[in-house]
Amino acid sequence: MPSDMPEPRRRGFLKGSLLVGASALARPAIARPAPPTPNANAALPTAARAMAEAGAVGITADPEAPIIKHAGSDLMVDLLKSAGIRYVTATPGSTFRGLHESIVNYGGNKAPELISCVHEEISAAMAHGYAKVAGAPIACLVHSNVGLQHASMAIYNAWCDRAPVLVLAGNGLDATQRRPLVEWLHTMTDVGTIVRDYVKWDETPINLEHYAESFMRAHQIATTPPCAPVMLVVDSDLQERDVPPASRPALPRPTHVAPPAGEAGAVREAAALLVAAEHPLIVADRAARTPAGVKLLVTLAELLNAPVIDRGARMNMPTTHYLNQSFRPELIGKADVILGLELSDLWGTINTVADKAERHARRLAAETVKVIAISANYTLAKANVQDMQRYFSPDLTIAADAEACLPQLIEAVQSLLTEERKAALAARTPKLRGDFAEMRAAAARDAANGWDASPISTARLSMELWEAIRPLDWGLVSNSAFISSWPQRLWDITEHHQYIGGEGGYGMGYGAPAAAGAALAHRDAGRIAVAIQTDGDMMVLPGTLWTLAHHSLPLLTVMHNNRAWHQETMHLTRIANRRGRGVENWRIGTTLTDPPIDYAAMARSMGVWAEGPISDPAKLAPALKRAVAVVKQGKPALLDIVTQPR
């Protein structure tokens, strides 16, 4: 027995030995070694010795694990702050957990603030709507390929609508660092391929300095007209690695690019054509990027005494101005000079194709008309997507941002206007004013049609809503097209922020989340947002309602609930008629009935105040009053209104 064995163990051993010895008396004697002599001076074994003999058992000399004090994603938050990004929309994902944590803890969840969304398409569409109100982008975080695929429809809409969105996609580029299964499924070698056809720029930085420069470049490209979404990959390793201060890259400055203006000679030529025209017409679509754009367009139109058709991708011309003659399409055919400002579709302004079995083009404009086009889109081209529309060659084409070009054009027009010419242009005023008055009166007569009908006419819905919001500082954040443009025909829309156009790409699902993003920007400006929300569109991303409640966004949603994907009901009827069969089967696959969806209950389930369904027009005004009271408190509200089809 070892002489350095501890005393209690030796006693126990001896006791045991005695017992064994006693039992040995009953058995034949066996030779045993003599027990060792205890050494009273033996030292007790140390922990280090025990570890050396037994191996480490997880106990280290340091009391705590090392902290990552300089996470790469902290720098990424610094970049967001430096670029003035106020919000980051996101559905949480592991590929950007580092950046997520940095936003929340390092950045204090303030400028940028994280906006929680239940689907990445909501994240991207919110960023789209926000940008159009605020005039500045926010960031949208997506979880690698799967998140980006979810977001892609909304990114396409933003591309078509020329709206700046910063898409940041988490990804795990280093294969040796991926854990099995999910981290392989949720990554790609080149994740940008998913959206490359409809973003203006994308990149995959491989170190932090590269990331910093690419981030600022992405911001610059997105915000330089023609604006559009951009995508930047945010590698997981870059986010989570500790970066000692000595290795930390400096923050590049953001770059603000002055938008491209027009070539001087071409602008003078345009001015000459317009001044000399007897029937000039201005057609504007995304002309007014900012409130200044509206003022400039009004100035130009008044100088030329030229009517304006506002195509409505943005608010370009006040609806109360006598030169806003947007609902007189016959002006296209009467014009001798047409000026197109940031048109989505110039070919479709000059021509049309009816939806008939034989697709024949029909010219709308006079054969002799002179067409001038000013658009930054002439500097942007993508081969695969077709949002550029059909090819058309104007008589004069200026590759410039329309708003940036307008001051030059105004100056050129002013220089050419003689007193005699001014008098001639002024002589048009009585007829123009009369035509404007008749246009508005005709809209009122049309609106009176079906005024008391149930389901509720879209005109009645629009005018009751207008009555409820007109005393407030408001912004309409939904596309008016599917509601027969009643707001543009009947409301007083006088400020740039009061209308932001529609989807851009007509991709269904834009409505609710873009309205939410726009409401976020309106909230920051002290305004309320109003959306006339179609039902089919709402059902694509109804989870938006939760985000509205969670972040207290002051959005009044008035459902335009015609209980169908109405455009498709007409398509099915049209095709059945062409084929001479089953005309009465139009309901199959096109209606949202059996059962009808209870939008009010759905909204309440996600924390949004709601009432409905309402199909009696007499009940509209009091319901709107209650809903507006909620929104004035800074909360979202929804009214389910059962409406006529259009």
């Binding site: 027969s484 443009s485 009827t573 139009w586």
Partner: protein, 218 residues
């Protein structure tokens, strides 16, 4: 021999009752037709473009109230429309269905005067803009008659629709020629003279159409 007084009264009352019953019976097929027309209006998808109340929309189809199109013109147009309306052939919409749909449309209430609707009345004044100068010498009466009898096909602003646009009629025809067209219209334009419109109406409508958009040579 004359009937006793009570018998004469009873006979008179019976005659009145029978007349009333006859009238009620004759009204029932009309009500049934209107109801049938309403069902067809929805079943065949007409409401999708023209609205449940016939109010129309600028993005789908014109308003059809008040409906003044004669049956023949309506039947002709739905079978082979000139605009973007899909064709409703005999198999999809038999002649009897056209009759029923027309009855339904005729039964729809006329649009309210927007001047009687507080939310719309201000728009008639167009935010204080001066009233539109008369575009045609006989704009008042002629315009009203045109709206009642002609706008259904030719559009309230003469922009066309079921029928051709008439905005350039003043450049193509004299007032007298337009009057002649109204009196002896080409098919399928309905013949409203002399049954529905009289000589004075023809003169007023012709003057309005001729002068639309500004005075032109006679």
């Amino acid at each position: 021999m004359t009937l006793p007084r009570f018998a004469r009264i009873a006979a008179a009352l019976t005659a009145v009752a029978l007349t009333g019953t006859s009238l009620a019976w004759s009204a029932m097929p009309e009500r049934r037709t209107v109801e049938a027309g309403r069902r067809i209006w929805f079943a065949k998808g007409c409401f999708q473009c023209h609205g449940a109340a016939g109010q129309g929309s600028i993005i789908s189809g014109p308003a059809l109230v008040p409906f003044t199109l004669p049956l023949d013109a309506m039947r002709h147009y739905v079978r082979n429309p000139t605009g973007v309306m899909p064709p409703y052939r005999q198999a999809a919409l038999p002649d009897d269905d056209v009759v029923a749909v027309r009855a339904f449309l005729v039964s729809l209430p006329a649009p309210r005067d927007p001047a009687t609707i507080p939310l719309l009345a201000p728009l008639l004044r167009a935010a204080g803009e001066p009233a539109r100068p008369a575009a045609a010498p006989a704009g008042g009466v002629g315009k009203a008659l045109f709206g009642r009898h002609c706008a259904m096909c030719h559009g309230a602003e003469l922009q066309g629709g079921i029928g051709p646009a008439l905005r350039e009629e003043g450049s193509r025809h004299s007032v007298a020629e337009i009057q002649q067209i109204l009196r002896a219209p080409p098919a399928p334009m309905p013949k409203l003279y002399p049954g529905t419109i009289k000589d004075a109406d023809v003169a007023a409508i012709a003057a309005y159409v001729h002068g639309f958009g500004g005075a032109k040579g006679q």
